[in-house]
Amino acid sequence: MPAIEIKGLTKDFLVGFWKKHPVRALDNLDLSVEKGEVFGFLGPNGAGKTTTLKILMSLLRPTSGSARILGEPIDVVSMHARIGYLPENPYFYDYLTARELLTYVGRLFGIRQPALNRKVSQLLENVGLGQSGGIQLRKFSKGMIQRVGIAQALVNDPEVVFLDEPMSGLDPLGRREVRQVVASLKSRGVTVFFSSHILPDVEALCDRVAIMNRGRLQATGALNEILKVRIEGHEVILTGAGPRTIEALSGMCDQITALGERLVLRAGNSAQVAAIVECALSGGADLLSVIPIRPSLEDYFFEEITGTGL
């Protein structure tokens, strides 16, 4: 049984003041996430990521289609006891302290004292707010709110966690901490479904991704597969090549660039690479690196998106 199963999910919004016309925010989404996966949900603004998450949380009702979480239809409220959710740009009751908020959430899950107090203390420690438990949320910085948000999503030790832009507003330190949290969740077998703009983080964490654009699913699959498809060749960097070597090399590669002391060569296929390496070495140059050129997720992303005429 997949942890998350989405079939034909569609959402139309009615916009306009007098004559309302529908705008399709989500178009026939089919998606499946297995248990224990860390799944990345990507796309530019307005792609439908947050809409999807809200529908999964029953905050919005789909126009058509269905979805299940842990085998239960999404409109079964009791299923929420097994999941956690961090909304985008979260806002919590600013008159409560962090501790009070987490205690409140715990009560909603039916966790009783004294276990509740212990849990809350532990959560605060885990997200790095151990000292700030007694401060009112209205005095928190954005980063601290984000951390509280993660904490409140984990109060019930969920089996599936949904995070909408969990890194937003965090400094690099904070982002690393979130990455650690996600990693530890993964090691405990928790399914993590998160949407993000920050592609390096996604690359680092996710097993699989889905790329959304204008409400449609653009591509989905393991990251390696998506990106390997596009390996365009190799890049060789060397230094200390003499002029004759350089001349020889320029004939073997597609492109040769001088960067100060170094030479950057681009070669189309593996055979060329071998020849270049041999030539360079025999010419007495120092080989600095040989790496396959594959577009980063960012490049892939931009190409996919702009390629479809955004």
Binding site: L59, L60, S78, F92, Y93, Y95, L108
Partner: protein
Amino acid sequence: MRILAIARNTFRENIRDKILYNLILFALIMILSSVALGQLTLGHEDKVIVDLGLTSISVFGTLIAIFIGISLVHKEIEKRTVHALLAKPVHRAEFIAGKFLGLLFTLFINTAIMTAGLILTLMWHGGAGLQGYLRLLPAVYLIFLSLSLTTALALLFSTFSTPALSALFTFFLWVIGHFNYDLREFGRLTKSGALQSLCTTLYYLLPNFANFELIGSQNVIQGAAYYRPIDAAAVGWVSVYGALYGAILLGIAAAVFSRRDFK
């Protein structure tokens, strides 16, 4: 239970809202100043204190019910705190019930404080003992019923309307709700059958606040001021009306809230 957790949180929110303290302070000042005012009536002091005291409790209670009630749900939607909340195993109806109970409890505490202030003022100033003043309690109870209904109204509007409009509608219905009998009489006096049916329908449809203020043709506050006993059976029936009408309002609120999308 979850509803109680939400109610408790709502209560905490209200307690930390400054407008509450201003209104309570105002009410207490009014009750105390009624002693001074009483001097002007040459011999009617007790009556004036009770009149002004109970009227203050009613008026300020209504203001609190409206001002806090109209933002009960709206504020959560505006500030988007509702997003995280509804992702928890909480039914939308539970949310409505919890908010309502939270504000109701706040009103209960308020009313209790103001009533205590009133009784203390009377004991300090007047002649009758505590026994006599405890007979004010049925009047306070009826006022509280009226406040509950106002709260339910404000809450209902809060689920789909902005605070300004909610306040307007709630206040409007509260005022109209005092004229139900006149509306029905008006219908009876006209020759038109259609108009009469309309008026009668409205009579049952609109919230009848006069129920809580007129028990057996005796104005409740006036009766309390003259320390007259109150008809217990009538109070019982009026309570049933309040519970029924309130439940209907909350039901509609829950239904409206259930169908909402939260963008």
